[in-house]
């Protein structure tokens, strides 16, 4: 059994409609029928055979995957072709973004977040001490690739998906320059965006809450 199959067997969560011995197969909380292992073992009458899927669904075409799989992760591996400058981004921002996010990227609370700003009092990742400190791209965001991914998938709010990849590069360049992460002369493409390091990328930590007595 490979590791994934072992995990699946452990997961034990599927119930068979039509079977009636539920009480015997429930765990201590009475809420989780432990049947997946039985499916996996092929011992459920009418279920699939040992280790077999149900055979439902259809193969996904490569073209469909390509059309939907537009995400860009932190490694920037899937960044598309195209390029844009800070100056081009500034023009686009004025035309398509400032209506909601403000001429200076100050945002419009609570619906439209601030994007731009490096006020001294909010430097050093001191946000826990004062809710009035404004989170911006420059003083909070951990990955520049997130900007590209989000603008491309979701902005502008009333016409998502309408920007070209080069326009998304330009807006990303403008917002990074306005947040003092890139110089005003910058041009962004896939390689240069992959190389951008955000000022506070190292401040994010794993969740260490585990329940129990301690308040974290």
């Amino acid at each position: 059994m490979n590791p994934v199959r072992s995990l699946l067997a452990i997961a034990g969560m599927v119930i068979v409609s039509g079977c009636s011995d539920g009480a015997a197969s429930r765990d201590a909380t009475g809420t989780r029928p432990a049947r997946f292992a039985e499916y996996d073992a092929g011992t459920v009458p009418g279920g699939p055979g040992v280790g077999q899927p149900f055979g439902l669904g259809r193969s996904a075409a490569a073209s469909q995957i390509a059309a939907w799989d537009t995400d860009v992760g932190p490694d920037g591996r899937t960044l598309p072709a195209g390029r844009g400058t800070v100056a081009e981004g500034a023009t686009l921002y004025s035309a398509q973004c400032q209506q909601c996010h403000g001429a200076k990227g100050e945002g419009m609370a609570p619906a439209y977040p601030a994007l731009i700003g490096r006020p001294p009092e909010a430097e050093g990742f001191v946000f826990a001490k004062d809710p009035k400190l404004v989170h911006t791209i420059g003083n909070y965001w951990s990955h520049a690739t997130t900007l590209f991914d989000y603008i491309k998938r979701a902005m502008p709010l009333t016409a998502p998906g309408s920007l070209t990849d080069s326009q998304v590069y330009a807006l990303t360049a403008y917002l990074l320059a306005a947040n003092e992460v890139l110089p005003d002369s910058a041009t962004l493409d896939a390689a240069s965006l992959r190389a951008v390091k955000m000022p506070y990328a190292d401040r994010f930590v794993a969740d260490d809450r585990r329940g129990g007595a301690e308040i974290k």
């Binding site: 068979v16 149900f54 055979g55 193969s59 809710p131 989170h135 329940g211 974290k216």
Partner: protein, 412 residues
């Protein structure tokens, strides 16, 4: 034609017949009447209303969500108007990031790809051919309680304080079952869930949650999901912050690292006093709120009454709820009105005899990990006043000698 007012004012019964069936608006309790209600003096002496195609609420019951009016906004469940443990589908809280999409279920498909043996897609009809499960779980927005944490005000209602909490009977299929069709490769450690809304909401999920208790759900409380809850398909990750329960789910990609989406980096992260911020802080810690009595109730008479509310934990079962009727000096164990189940809200009740004096009512929940709902002071010490999510401090209600009930939350 019979008007809405005719029926609401009681004259419909005298007309009788089948004309009411299908009258638009009558079944929709959400646009409840402003007109004065004048039922017949003796309903046993007047013919009643006929049957109808949809059952609406009594015109005397007009619960409403509280929408912010923005397509990126929220709309809060009126907790103080509800009893039992299940949130009616039309009162389930909303939080959207690009509005509610209008989706034809016949055209909707779920794509599963990435680190799988066989990239697959599933229509809604195909998903419904898998063995189904029905489970009750709460969904709570990670930002629920922020206003009361930062700036509590006496005029806050339970809806305002904690209305981004709802509890639902969900029906769907375990994610493990569907993933097996595609064959997850052993090296897969995270998956990306993407919605079909106008921001194509994306969140990264550790694969262990899929093996544990993740569900793909298409029904709430016995009927298809409401559009605001993800129609026709949503990811349900029991006990985890609302945002990651991706609505209008259309794509799952298996990978080896999180995608660092906008919602899991710039939002839904928790600044801490040591100059860091938690990310991927999925679980919702144990929490409770008294919903009766609550503002703007006014206690008219001294004597016995139930103190009642909801308790929930994203880490498992609620094992105990305690109520204080003296501002926290002494605590009494409340009764749970139904068996508590894992990652579901449970209704609690404590019978209280009001003597007419001024006092403060509080509740605190304990879950099966032994975690006890903290005071706000303890949370502020651990996370700071400026932390952004996961507010589960003890809250309550002040009762004045004139019976007025106002919100109490600790402040700085």
């Amino acid at each position: 034609m019979l008007s809405r007012r005719d029926w609401l004012t009681g004259s419909a019964g005298a007309i009788g017949g089948a004309v009411l069936a299908g009258v638009p608006g009558l079944a929709d309790s959400q646009d409840a009447p402003a007109a004065p209600l004048t039922p017949p003096a003796d309903p046993t002496k007047v013919a009643g209303a006929p049957t109808s195609d949809l059952g609406g609420r009594s015109p005397f019951e007009t619960p409403h969500r509280a929408p912010t009016g923005e397509i990126t906004g929220s709309s809060l469940t009126p907790l103080e108007r509800l009893t039992g443990q299940i949130t009616p589908a039309d009162l389930h809280f909303e939080r959207h990031h690009a509005g509610i999409p209008f989706i034809d279920p016949a055209a909707h498909a779920l794509l599963i790809h990435g680190l799988v043996e066989r990239p697959m897609q599933f229509s809604m009809e195909e998903l419904k051919r898998f063995p189904q499960v029905t489970r009750t779980h709460f969904v709570e927005c990670a930002g629920n309680g922020r206003n009361a944490y930062r700036a509590p005000k006496p005029e806050m209602t339970a809806q305002k304080v904690s209305g981004m909490l709802s509890n639902t009977e969900w029906t769907g299929v375990p994610l493990t079952t569907v993933l097996r069709e595609a064959g997850v490769k052993p090296e897969a450690s995270w998956f990306l869930a993407e919605g079909g809304d106008a921001c194509m909401m994306t969140r990264s999920v550790p694969i262990e949650k899929a093996w544990d208790d993740a569900l793909l759900v298409w029904a709430q409380n016995g009927e298809p999901l409401r559009p605001a809850q993800g129609y026709p398909l949503r990811l349900l990750l029991p006990g985890w912050e609302g945002n990651i329960n991706v609505k209008w789910l259309r794509r799952i990609e298996l990978g080896t690292a999180p995608w660092m989406t906008r919602w899991e980096t710039s939002k839904y992260t928790d600044p801490l006093p040591n100059g860091t911020a938690r990310r991927f802080s999925f679980e919702l810690d144990a929490k409770s709120i008294i919903t009766t009595p609550s503002h703007p109730d006014r206690l008219i008479e001294k004597g016995w009454r139930p103190i009642s509310g909801l308790a929930w934990s994203g880490r498992g079962r609620i094992t105990r709820v305690e109520v204080s009727t003296d501002g926290g000096t002494s605590w009494y164990e409340a009764e749970l009105l139904a068996p508590a189940t894992s990652k579901a809200a449970v209704r609690f009740q404590y019978m209280w005899q009001w003597n007419g004096g001024a006092t403060r009512l509080l509740s605190r929940a304990t879950d099966e990990t032994g975690y006890v709902q903290p005071t706000r002071a303890a949370l502020v010490a651990a996370r700071g006043l400026g932390t952004d999510y996961h507010f589960n401090q003890i809250v309550g209600w002040d009762v004045a000698t004139d019976g007025a009930v106002t919100f109490f939350g600790e402040s700085a």
